[in-house]
Symmetry: D2
Subunit: 346 residues, 4 copies
């Protein structure tokens, strides 16, 4: 069996496990007040060119989105997000559990535009019933999006401008941020995110860590008592050092970027194989997730030899499926996939 179903099927990148091993018997206090966490935060601040930012390390993605959003919003506010954004669809109502409405806007290619946000706010502010409605209180987007598409620097700059004009904190969910940063076509750097957003997270889980999301908040004053909010949401890791060691390792010797460059390189080769075999793409993704359209009977047969993810039905006889590469994808995996596809006489 060859595996392309997702980018977090193994434990951790060996460097990380090695570092956990080396530091295992060191004694530290808990809850992130340890030297590894301090070092990790310093490295992340430096990578983001944001020396005054607050960096907080959390365990999981839904948790991170919930905690950040609950911190930014007042009780009478909601969060603007694309209809198919993770918080709107696949977080089991975590945002609503914290009392907030997700103000979902249809996103083209899973992306929101600055113009959409501007128009939504404009309509809200001119609505005679606005005091009976949920006030837009922040904007949530993800980079890359759920479908692997990217915001360009131009698009993000424009969104940031609109958000600041309307007083809306902008939060970028970067659960797979590494795989955006490494794309040749990407022009949004960590530094740009720190300049243009009010918070973003740097995902570790899908880029070689056992787990972990680093929240970067350029202006810490916007997230007061953030530590207590983390605790209140059950999101505080007792042995916070584990997050520290992992992010410290990821941001040492460029590991985070080497991992993602490898994944993107594998994805580029994967795209070549699909093209070679005449398999059409459902959409043009520059990142480590590739969405192709398979004839459904063929898809069922292929499942016997290759793991991938169902995405959605294309039509009665075709299905969109997702192939993902990651730090552990090998040239051998690709060669094996090519052999299977070529010999299938599609």
């Amino acid at each position: 069996m060859i595996y392309f179903n997702c980018d977090y099927m193994e434990g951790a990148h060996p460097n990380i496990l090695k570092r956990l091993q080396e530091t295992n018997m060191d004694k530290t206090v808990g809850y992130g007040d340890d030297p590894y966490t301090e070092s990790a935060k310093a490295r992340i601040r430096e990578a983001c060119d944001a020396p005054d930012s607050e960096v907080m390390l959390l365990v999981g993605g839904t948790q991170t989105n919930d905690v950040v959003i609950a911190s930014f919003l007042q009780p009478y506010q909601g969060v603007i997000a694309p209809t198919n954004g993770h918080i709107a669809r696949h977080e089991a109502g975590a945002i609503e559990h914290s009392g907030h409405k997700v103000l979902a806007l249809p996103g083209e290619n899973y992306k929101l535009s600055a113009e959409q946000i501007r128009e939504y706010c404009w309509l809200y502010y001119k609505d005679a019933s606005k005091d009976h409605m949920v006030m837009p209180g922040m904007v949530y987007i993800s980079q890359p999006t759920e479908s692997g598409t990217l915001y360009s620097l131009g698009e993000l700059t424009e969104i940031s401008r609109v958000c600041r004009a309307d007083g809306l904190p902008l939060y970028v969910d970067g659960a797979r941020l590494a795989h955006a940063l490494a794309c040749p076509s990407n022009d949004v750097t960590l530094g740009a995110l720190a300049r243009l957003t009010d918070a973003f997270c740097i995902g570790g889980t899908k880029c070689g860590a056992l787990f972990g999301e680093a929240v970067v908040a350029p202006d810490p004053a916007l997230l007061p008592h953030f530590f207590t909010v983390i605790k209140q949401h059950g999101a505080l890791l007792a042995k916070g050092r584990l997050l520290g060691v992992q992010f410290d390792t990821l941001f040492t010797d460029d590991l985070y970027f080497r991992i993602s460059r490898h994944a993107i390189d594998m994805a580029e080769q994967l795209k070549g194989i699909f093209r070679e075999c005449g398999i059409p793409f459902a959409l043009n993704s520059p990142t480590n997730q590739q969405f192709v359209i398979l004839e459904s009977t063929f898809m069922e047969a292929l499942r016997e030899k290759v793991r991938f993810s169902f995405w959605e039905k294309a039509d009665d006889t075709h299905t969109v499926v997702r192939f993902a590469t990651g730090w552990s994808t090998t040239e051998e995996d690709l060669a094996a996939l090519r052999d299977i596809l070529v010999s299938s006489n599609l």
Copy 2:
């Protein structure tokens, strides 16, 4: 420096780290649907002599308490707990964030009695205003308690009886359960917990795991859609296998009990040293946490050489402090502490 300040100062027990290393490159799907988790659950069910129970693996303690309590309670219900219980004091309002009142009763030695619970419910049900009040919906206790004391099998049986008579699910927070199970004076087994409670958790973090709490629910029907509740609370670990591997290891070859027996053995030796040096105990704890009374000036001097935790002021010139042993405490640590105390001419 010697460290007795808490029982989770290192990473993990070496066996656990070794097993994480060995399984690191195995590919599994996420969210706990992997063979390690399956095996861990089977071993825990067996250890609890509860073949029909549901076992769910979560990351942290506050998270576990919040998710379990939110699952058991209806919106109009609250949870009975001791005034000094963890959920009542040190979880930053996590239970209230989920909409529930903690109905705090003063606990002697941090413990509730069956009689207290019975009386509270009796007063509630006969109160003419009861429909204007929060209905008691479950009972939370911890084993061992925050102060290291234990419920006896007799006490727990009686509490269970009262809870069942009043239709109150009983939940036992076992963040340090191992250290209760290993006490010579303890008579509450995992099997007894499975018989007498509606849910309890088996803490990993404080007993050699990197992290992890295993929730055991003898009657899974009482926690419907528990997986979704976990997700909604941001408590679902993407690489659930990490919890599986850890608990599978802890429940292989009796590791969980070997770890805790060692900690208790160290605690017994520690008690001997305190007795030898004439240091009085603030309370009689049979577990791995020992609470002693130090003259405050001496305490400050001792801090230069030994780490321990401030607990509370005893009087104007004395302080109660906590010494904790754990899987990593060594005979050398104890000998070094003894030397310091003996040479101090208390």
Copy 3:
């Protein structure tokens, strides 16, 4: 100035005020445990042909929706509603404040179809990620809808069938129910609502009461401890008798239906005037709310003499506005409006 802007511009129907006056000095206990409330409940049960139903009297509409929905749903569930339903748009996030997602489906003419609900649930239950999603837990619709359209008995029966097949409680928001019941084209009676739904409310505020919504729950077991939930949401009126007196009066001598028949009669005459004056309808409403399209400049001029409500822009030069009739609308009001419109030379 003539007023058609809404159906709750005055205090109460004179009969109600008279009855409040007559009973004013009677002494009763609070919170609804008084003979007027008892009588009102009995009359409502009888009018609904539902002798075993629970009837609870609340003050306001958002409050009622919030309390009912919070009672039906488990924390991991959401409520299916039309995108433009009141709870989805104009209740300031009350449902989310209680922790629940509004699962909004686009409604044609503000209405959901049985087929939509069925398909939504079918997609949910077959989604491999469903445990990461909000579970549909009930259905909310309103009769009449926000735009004055009606569900037919056939449509409602079909929705009820789908809801029961999927275990979804069906709740009908009847803030303006009287104005549906009185429509000549309506075939959904109170009895039908009691047979087909799991709860519905009978609005008083917009039908001659000072305030008040009566919740009818055919199977009270579905709303356990409903009184306490009402109290918890701050929705319990101290002098509950005021609700009792009002609903008792409304359901005496057919007043509720006489009021609404008058409103519908006025609305029919209003429609005649619009037709006579060549003013086009934005949609075909059989109820007391009429939506017409006015040339925007004319609309501004008309505002000087007549009050109505802005609804939405039709195009760059036209606007949809709402005219509402009510128990207090008079033939004189209509004649005056006709004069203005006729003399306007549209």
Copy 4:
């Protein structure tokens, strides 16, 4: 039967009902944007000598407490209140439903002292675990208290000083405020409340209104988007004019104070009767609620002729009961009670 069981057993003071009658057919828009509400707010501002304050009119007491507290607090904060305060005991968990912990302190005579608050905050701020705890975010007290006792101007000034020093908004629940204001021994005026608190409410329900609580917020900036919070909590009355008319009437020609002076006058006479009959007081209340100790067998016999409220058991053979006077209590009621007591040969 004579009635002393509570102060809201009738409808409304006749002046209020008369004014509702007079204004009934006036047409106004909803939600408090009407001239009666405007006038009521102006009169209340004037009575409080607080021209810049915001005044908002709500329907009920629990509702008011919930909305005000939810507006003041951040999600990570709780509200300090006496253990026996209304929000801590008799509001069915409304505050917790909005996500906040009630930080209950034992109150002597149902009252908190400035020193208690100061000490609680001091302990919190010096606690090494404070970031794992609920932050005190405001203070709730009531005037009069649940047991009819009063804060003196000196006590309130001291509490206000402590609250301001610690940045805690101070909120006074004045559900029965009229009955405090009218006490001869009271020295806390509306003006003092406006100077010393950050919000307080002026209860109408228990002082002659059908319903209604007026929230006065001296610095409106502390309650941003308060209207939307009211709506979100289901607390917005559609026909807001009803609140406007009632408070406008109460604050016209001193009615509010005339009503309460009458109630206090009746209470003073009631106290005289108890003294004359040798019935002991459970506590010394200067307000309209009197708490006396009855021999339990006698109490049961008395119930046949007089209505009063059970308060609590005094001992095995005695019971504390509450007698309340109000605007509708008459000299005849008192004379009849006296006759019964005197002829009872206690």
